[in-house]
Amino acid sequence: MPHFTLLAQSLLTGILAGALYGLLALGLSLSWGLLRLVNLGHFAMALLGAYLTWWFGTVYGIPPWWTGLFIVGAFFVYGMGLHWVFMRFRVAEMASMLITFSIAVLLESLLQALWTADFRRYETAWSSASIVVGPLFVPTLNLAAALVAAVLALATWAWLRFTYVGKALRAGAEDAPIAAAFGINHRQLSYLLSGLCAAYAGVAGVFIALIATLAPSEIWTWVGVVFAVVIIGRLGNPLGALVGGVLIGACEAMTMAVVNPAWAPLVSFSVLIALLLFRPKWV
């Protein structure tokens, strides 16, 4: 059994990493829950964002916040464009998975063509900075990512809960024709939401660049974990996505500390299986 401080340290790291899962799951959960579109290309977009951050940062010396702003804007436009395609061709839920799966494969090829399959690491002044709290080290960048994830999740939750736009979106997801009969322009709102989801992928991408090592095939390692988070947090629920992410992150960290780091990829899958077996009404 590892030492207690060590366990606490890895739990903390896991929670912070889990918040990043939550950030990634946020856009996915919203588009699945409120637009009925399952976006397998979400991770690929996040990774594209990460590569752009790294590339602008190391080659042109542009700091991540400026790149981040650009990415958020550009991705928002991409999200709206993607939604236009889905509306134009009346793409159903399952077909949306196939199309976005193809987008993910396309982007993986693009990343490989532009920046090869080698691992990339974005070294910045804050890469190894951390805050010391008692016996524990809190890595600054991970903490920042977690804070941004929490703020975005809370803000999105409040937006959906309390504003007209949010309520209209939820009504539209429940029953589009009825919502339309009450004068809700679901079409326009869904463009907004789709753009927003892609922008969230961009924000997640900036932090992935700052925290993780990049390789095009990383697209696929995130898929299973983040979709498990989306289901655990319940579709279309921003706070749920954050809580689910933290939960999975913590479980993974514990597995790494107590069992073996190599088994961490199995954690989210096992939790999801257990959930579906014992609480099938959850979904």
């Binding site: 399952v38 998975m97 199309i99 193809s102 494969v105 993986e108 693009l110 390692t221 990829p265 989210s268």
Partner: protein
């Protein structure tokens, strides 16, 4: 068998024999290997389609089933010295076990089954890969099979691998063909279009999906076993590569995922295209092209090549179904002898959705041969009651008896087979099945489990009965609302139910159509079927009902003859407000 049926069979037999002779000819090994690769993809794509194309549960994890096959064969052959051919059934069995386990977990869910299945299969691929590289199965460095003796079935090892690949393709295609022509296939096609309706018509959906995934994953496992001796050095990275998952999907969709021949055609075209495009370090270009192709195919030709061509072909050919000019009236079945039990007996039935009590202690018995009208304001629980009787919803309290036997805990398809059929207020037809097949399905899965020919005859009978015989080869989208409503009715009748539940068959019909519907309902009762019908149209309720039951906010407030209930103070209050009640 007609020439039309025999010709394709002869064509495939000759093609198979010709391909079998290839290794004996003096053809460069390169071409033999290429053909093997084509067979490999034909088998994988075809096996994918048996579940994902037919039933619409898209698997993004075929690499996992394939990979399990690869590693089962590799491990058994290298570490335990098992003769290679013996590893094939084990590889198939293990892959099928994994498939049915995933299916068992996901297929039971009420919502998002399709999406979750797709996601679970993606994750499963990475989980299997992680397990294999973390354990001594390959220990992270791969397994050599170079020393494994390839059985000399057909001259050289290359020839043997070729013949095994050909055999796999033949098995996969024969299975897909057999399934698509069978009860199982019809059930899977119905599941694809509307799973809940399929279950209500008597299709054991859960079991059928498990059967389909077992076949699908089992074949993929066996294909993987053969592949292991072809590559002779297996690694986790290559075995579970994303392309192994992607190609079968692309090939099937491109060729036509609802047709047994579609995936094979797609596999031949796409494998050839890939081979001429790029390989080696530039492989990602090929991947990108395929991904782009997939997007275009889904957006522009979602049915696939084979289905599109077939549809075009059929439009130029006269329809194969011969519409009988006159339907012989079926001898009327006598109303069953006075039974000691009511046909339907609901006792204290309760059902809540969250905080809403949809049904509150509803007790209602329906006598044999009776027509009972079920009325009540919107949201009073009428449709919920029908959904409870047919087993679509589980009740929270009380009991439902059918002919004296308790049915409330039975799955919906068993209830349908006992003899309860329903129609839907808004027609829920199987959109990719012809009008004839829509009606033949309940005949095959309903009370009598008729075989294919008998079910088609039964279906034609009911189509003629409802005046739709001329539309037998059309697809449901080509019908107007009135025809769709009558198709719903024909579909309910074809199951030969003893109890028929009709949900607002009259709504949206004009006067003449309503008169026709009234005659039809009376006639159905004359044939010995007990009827419960939900209706807002009071003219129909009064004209048809022996008794009327009135529901309000989930409670049964009155039961009696139409005249009695229409005078009941509480009923008037509910319908017209307090002022009129006194």
């Amino acid at each position: 068998m007609s020439v039309r049926r025999l010709a394709p069979a002869a064509f495939f037999a000759v093609l198979g024999l010709a391909l079998l002779a290839v290794p004996a000819l003096d053809i460069p090994a390169f071409y033999v290997s290429f053909l093997y690769i084509v067979f490999n993809w034909i088998s994988l794509a075809t096996s994918w389609t048996i579940l994902s194309g037919f039933a619409g549960y898209w698997s993004f994890g075929h690499a996992a089933f394939f990979g399990i096959g690869v590693y089962t064969a590799a491990t058994l052959a290298t570490k335990f010295g098992v003769p290679f051919l013996w590893t094939l059934p084990l590889a198939a069995g293990l892959a099928a076990l994994l498939g049915t386990t995933i299916g068992f977990i996901v297929f039971r869910l009420q919502r998002l089954r399709g999406e979750l299945f797709a996601l679970m299969t993606i994750s499963m691929t990475f989980v299997v890969a992680t397990i294999i590289s973390n354990t001594p199965i390959d220990g992270g460095s791969g397994v050599y099979l170079i020393s494994v003796a390839v059985p000399e079935l057909f001259g050289s090892p290359t020839g043997t691998i070729y013949v095994l690949g050909l055999a796999m393709a033949a098995v996969a295609m024969a299975t897909a063909y057999a399934v698509s022509r069978s009860r199982l296939g019809l059930g899977l096609f119905a599941i694809h279009d509307d799973e809940d309706v399929a279950e209500t018509k008597g299709v054991p959906t859960f079991r059928y999906k498990l059967a389909a995934i077992a076949l699908s994953s089992g074949i993929a496992g066996a294909v993987g076993a053969v592949y292991s001796i072809y590559v002779s050095y297996v690694t986790v990275g290559e075995t579970f590569e994303i392309t192994v998952t992607m190609y079968p999907v692309v090939m099937s969709i491109f060729g036509g995922a609802r047709h047994w021949l579609g995936p094979a055609l797609g596999a031949v075209v796409i494998t050839t295209a890939l081979y001429s495009l790029a390989s080696g370090p530039q492989a990602y270009i090929g991947r990108a092209v395929i991904a782009l192709g997939l997007i275009l195919v889904i957006l522009l030709m979602p049915q696939g090549v084979v289905t599109t061509v077939l549809r075009w072909w059929r439009r130029r050919m006269p329809p194969r179904v011969i519409v009988p000019e006159r339907i012989e009236p079926r001898p009327r079945e006598a109303i069953p002898e006075a039974s000691p039990h009511p046909v339907l007996d609901c006792r204290d039935v309760s059902k809540a959705f969250g905080g809403i009590q949809a049904l509150r202690n509803v007790s209602l018995a329906v006598a044999p041969g009776e027509i009972l009208g079920l009325v009540g304001p919107n949201g009073s629980g009428k449709s919920t009651l029908i959904n409870v009787i047919t087993g679509h919803y589980q009740i929270d309290g009380g009991a439902v008896f059918f002919d004296g036997a308790r049915i409330d805990a039975l799955p919906a398809h068993t209830i349908a087979q006992h003899g309860i059929a329903r129609s839907y207020q808004i027609p829920r037809l199987f959109n990719h099945l012809t009008v004839l097949d829509n009606v033949a399905l309940p005949a095959r899965f309903g009370t009598e489990h008729q075989d294919k020919g008998a079910a088609a005859a039964e279906a034609m009978h009911w189509l003629a009965y409802t005046g739709l015989a001329a539309r037998a080869t059309a697809l449901p989208q080509q019908l107007n609302l009135h025809e769709r409503k009558f198709l719903e009715l024909a579909r309910a009748l074809a199951a030969r139910p003893r109890l028929l539940l009709l949900d607002e068959v009259m709504s949206g019909l004009n006067h003449t159509e309503i008169d026709a519907a009234l005659m039809l309902v009376r006639d159905i009762r004359e044939r010995g079927t007990t009827i419960v019908f939900v209706e807002h149209l009071m003219r129909a309720v009064v004209a048809l009902s022996d008794r009327v039951a009135v529901l309000n906010e989930g409670t049964l407030i009155a039961v009696g003859t139409p005249q009695e209930t229409m005078r009941d103070a509480e009923v008037i209050n509910v319908y017209l407000g307090k002022a009129h009640a006194s």
